[in-house]
């Protein structure tokens, strides 16, 4: 136990250290940023797999930073939910780092890119791993600020504009989170989340809890891009370089938004009944509005960005149901979405890399010239549209079944409708970009370099295997543990505190 706990801070330390070294040496040594970026994220991915194993043995790992015992010092906690998120974040980060090796050649100063990228990963890992609510805010800001800078990385006019909008709205969201934390601190006199949950369990419910819930809903909802807090996303995500778009849509909105929202609502302050209804409503609204906005887009990446809003809606709907099945479906969809959405953004990046355009109307017949991109894109499209046997099908199925089981027929219907529209809009993408006759202008198009192909193929394989994984023992270790933490609700506190005693 004692040794195992030491793995916990590594998730932040390794990422931060990698960022530091890249910024120090990356300018001097040419291939260094590439190697360091992939290596760091690979180590992190390996560690997160180890974390899964450890959680299976010990259930909860708690690390006290600087040997200050919580609740005075800062605690870092790895439980089922955390390890699940860690795997998701670091797996995607690793594949995107590999992809970036070739893709980022178009840009100057790669080392800045990798520094910011690793900083963002550090922030996300920190948010997921921390057991201290103010610490959560700090990591949230680290990741957010890094992402503002990355959105503006191309420094073109529209990129700067998008980054500015994103920064303003993101800061507003962060501020509401901060106000919420201040209120909580004033009410409970502690910042440790487990401790705070204990205090809440003893005190009678007050209106303050509701107030804080709304503040968090707005703040984290904005990070997660729930309608009506979503408006920054369709500008910010397409403007970033493709690997960063994949990172933002794939994992950032989930670790900063969905994870934090769930952790605090389920494990700390307890989910108010009305709030669950609101979550489900917002989820359904995002699902429908996102997809209807997406279907009319001609910009490949913008279309994908709107779909992120829609898919986050599914996740929130599933988790908001509050039944074990619903939470399981929501989390599974979270994982699946981070896989197929990153893949889709990487595809769009590959197309842009090869043809220089993001406008679907200027493409056509690319599957002859870029078979790998076209094939992986088809797989990802099928996954997001929920066509069996790809992974998206299973999670959507679970969410719909869970909604019907809980008696929410209307929500289930909207979920089905959004799924149909998703299929339609991705059919549009494949038709205009990859099918049909090759345009004369595109005759010289070549398939992208190896490192980009490799990432796309690995992600596509996960999409295909995702459904099978669901029926294997991995599911037990991976998903069930995570959803168990959320369905366990306030027992989080006692588990963390008892782990501290050992």
């Amino acid at each position: 136990m004692i040794q195992a706990v030491n793995i916990v801070p590594l998730f932040v330390v390794v990422a931060l250290g990698g960022a530091f070294i890249v910024s120090l040496l990356g300018k001097r040594i040419k291939a260094f940023p590439d190697i360091m970026g992939s290596l760091t994220t690979f180590v992190l991915f390996g560690l997160s797999l180890l974390a899964i194993r450890l959680v299976n043995v010990y259930d909860v790992l708690v690390y006290s930073v600087g040997a200050w015992k919580p609740p005075i010092g800062i605690a870092m906690v790895i439980d089922g939910f955390t390890s699940f998120m860690l795997v998701t974040v670091n797996l995607v980060a690793f594949l995107i780092a590999v992809y970036s090796i070739s893709y980022m050649r178009q840009f100057t100063s790669k080392w800045k890119f990798y520094t910011l990228f690793l900083l963002m990963v550090a922030g996300m890992n920190g948010v997921v791993i921390t057991g201290d609510i103010f610490n959560l805010f700090v990591f949230l800001e680290i990741a957010s600020v890094a992402s503002y800078a990355l959105v503006a990385f191309g420094t073109e006019r529209h990129e700067l504009e998008a980054a500015f909008k994103y920064a303003v709205m993101g800061t507003v969201g962060s501020l509401f989170v901060l106000i919420g934390i201040v209120f909580l601190y004033g009410y409970t006199s502690t910042l440790n989340m487990a401790d705070m949950a204990m205090v809440f369990a003893q005190k009678p419910t007050s209106n303050l809890v509701l107030l804080v819930s709304v503040l968090f809903l707005m703040g984290f909802g904005l990070k997660a891009a729930l309608v009506p807090f979503h408006a920054w996303l369709p500008d910010a995500h397409p403007s970033a370089p493709a690997p960063i778009s994949a990172m933002l849509s794939g994992v950032l909105i989930k670790s900063l938004g969905v994870y934090a929202l769930c952790r605090i609502f389920y494990n700390v302050i307890g989910l108010h009944h009305n709030l669950s209804g609101i979550l489900m409503f917002l989820g359904t609204l995002s699902m429908v509005i996102g997809v209807f906005l997406a279907i009319g887009q001609w910009d490949f990446k913008r279309l994908l960005a709107y779909h992120s809003i829609s898919q986050i809606g599914y996740v929130i709907l599933g988790i908001g149901l509050g039944t074990p099945l619903g939470i399981l479906g929501g989390l599974f969809h979270l994982f699946n979405h981070s896989i197929f959405k990153s893949l889709l953004f990487l595809n769009s990046g590959a197309v842009e890399y090869a043809t220089g355009t993001r406008d679907l109307q200027k493409m056509g017949g690319l599957k002859e010239r870029m078979p790998v991109t076209a094939g992986t894109n088809l797989i990802a499209s099928m996954s997001i549209a929920g066509i069996p046997p790809f992974n998206g099908f299973w999670s959507k199925l679970i969410i719909i079944v869970a909604a019907v089981q809980a008696g929410f027929y209307g929500h289930a219907f909207w979920a089905v409708l959004a799924s149909i529209m998703t299929l339609a809009s991705f059919m549009k993408v494949t038709k205009y970009a990859f099918f049909g006759r090759l345009k004369d202008k595109l005759n010289n198009v070549k398939e992208v370099p190896f490192s980009m192909k490799l990432s796309m193929i690995v992600l596509a394989c996960i999409c295909v295997a995702g459904g099978v994984l669901f029926f294997s023992a991995i599911n037990q270790a991976f998903l069930q543990k995570a959803s168990g933490v959320l369905s366990g609700g306030l027992s989080y506190a006692s588990e963390v505190l008892s782990a501290l005693q050992q």
């Binding site: 709205m169 709030l275 009319g296 046997p389 199925l397 079944v401 089981q405 149909i420 038709k431």
Partner: protein, 550 residues
Amino acid sequence: MSLNAEFFRFDALSNFIGIFVCIFTVLVFLYSLGFMPKRKGLIRYYLYILLTLISSLGVVFSNNLILFIVFWGFLGLLLYLLIGFGQKTNTPATAKKAFIIIGATDALMLLGLAFVWRISGTLQMDAMRITLSSKVAVWAYLCLAVGAFAKAGAMPFHTWVPDAAEDSPAPVAAYLPASLDKLLGIYFLARLSIYMFRMNNSMNIVLMAVGSFTIVAAVMMALVQHDLKRLLGYHAVSQVGYMVLGIGTGNPIGIAGGLFHMLNHAIYKSCLFLSAGSVEKKAETTDLEDLGGLAKFMPVTFITFLIASFAISGVPPFNGFASKWMVYQGIIERGSSGGFIWVIFLVSAMFGSALTLASFMKLIHAVFLGQPSKHQAPSTEHRDVSPLMWIPQVFLALLCIVFGVFVYRVPLKMFIFPALGERVSSSGIWEASPATILIIVGIVIGIIIYFLGTLSKIRETESFIGGESLKDNPQMRISGTRFYDTVKDIGFLSVIFKLAERKLFDIYEVGAKITFAFNKFLRYLHNGVLPTYLAWCLLGMGIIFYILFK
């Protein structure tokens, strides 16, 4: 059978469908060897065909509803990929449309599955016996049936079938929309209506109404088409009506008729599509205006096409007649319990059959008889297509005859009646064999009389001026494409045809219009102005406050 009864189940109904799935795959595979060469990505083509076979067998034999939907949904993707092998300009759009319609109904089936689970608590298909007593049960049935309708191509989910027929390669059209999708769609409808749900009277009437409407509406559309494969596509829709109608009758003879018609349809329709493919290969077009007089160039294809046309039109003694006859009997038997609405169903079924015959007369005239068109590819040699292509055609045509003539001894006894597992009694099974002999005798006597009549009084005259060589007067040629265009001028029908031309009955086009209108509105709201976006956030927060604190 003990092969994990939880997931897979082999009963007479699924065995019989499974056998024919395999037969059609083999035939289409053979035909493709002759039809597809010189195209790119043939390995993928045969891989998809193989995957289609596997998933179809999965659909037929799975006993768990989730497993079923996995195979079923995957077939939609395969259909999309296979249509993509077509080489027309419209092929990508058609593939997209087909997949969206199929995928949409598959998504509805998920909802149906969720409902079923809520009602019965099991997903095992043979353990269900749901009564349509509650609203949820009705919705569950409808959601699942919609999937079957779209797959088989019943109205209003039919619009992908004619498009796919026109724009996909002929073997694909013969394989999926014409045979496999029909087999599977109607199989699932039968499984639903006979085993999984307990039908009630009003649901039966809904089914029958859908069926008879499909028969008449689709055949009317078929009358005015001028593309060979598209016309066949509309017939593929129209014939589904008989199957749905037969299953909708809810009595054994009707259901047996529906299933039998499904089988027959798969046989003659794939024969028709394969023959059409041969025509396309030979003449390099499927536009009826440009075809004509092909009978002497491709005699085998002509004969197989003719036989299949008789079968689909319900001319005795071919198989189409036998199954239609059973469907009619089913309707009549249902009518014996009272009510008048069955008369409408019966009349529309018979009327549809007559119109089918009419449109095939036009088709045969325009393609095989009449005069060769001037657009005809000059390389038309006096040779039929390769044996790889005509052997499947001939085999299917022979099946049409065998299943028609020995209707009671072969198909019904071997496949249909065991599948239903109950004794089918009827007011009079069609005894085909003596009738066939009578028909043949009649034809022979007719020929003898004809020759006796002409032998004695042959006279030679100058030919009629209009009969002079067409090579000099190409404008005198009548292709027959517009035989029935006058039907468009009949009062209320003219309005309907005009609306149909504007695609107002196409659920896909209408859905797209609504979607894009909504999309336009939402895009208008997203004007890119930062203060507006911030205002939304605050507004949203205010509303949530209000809801929580009220």
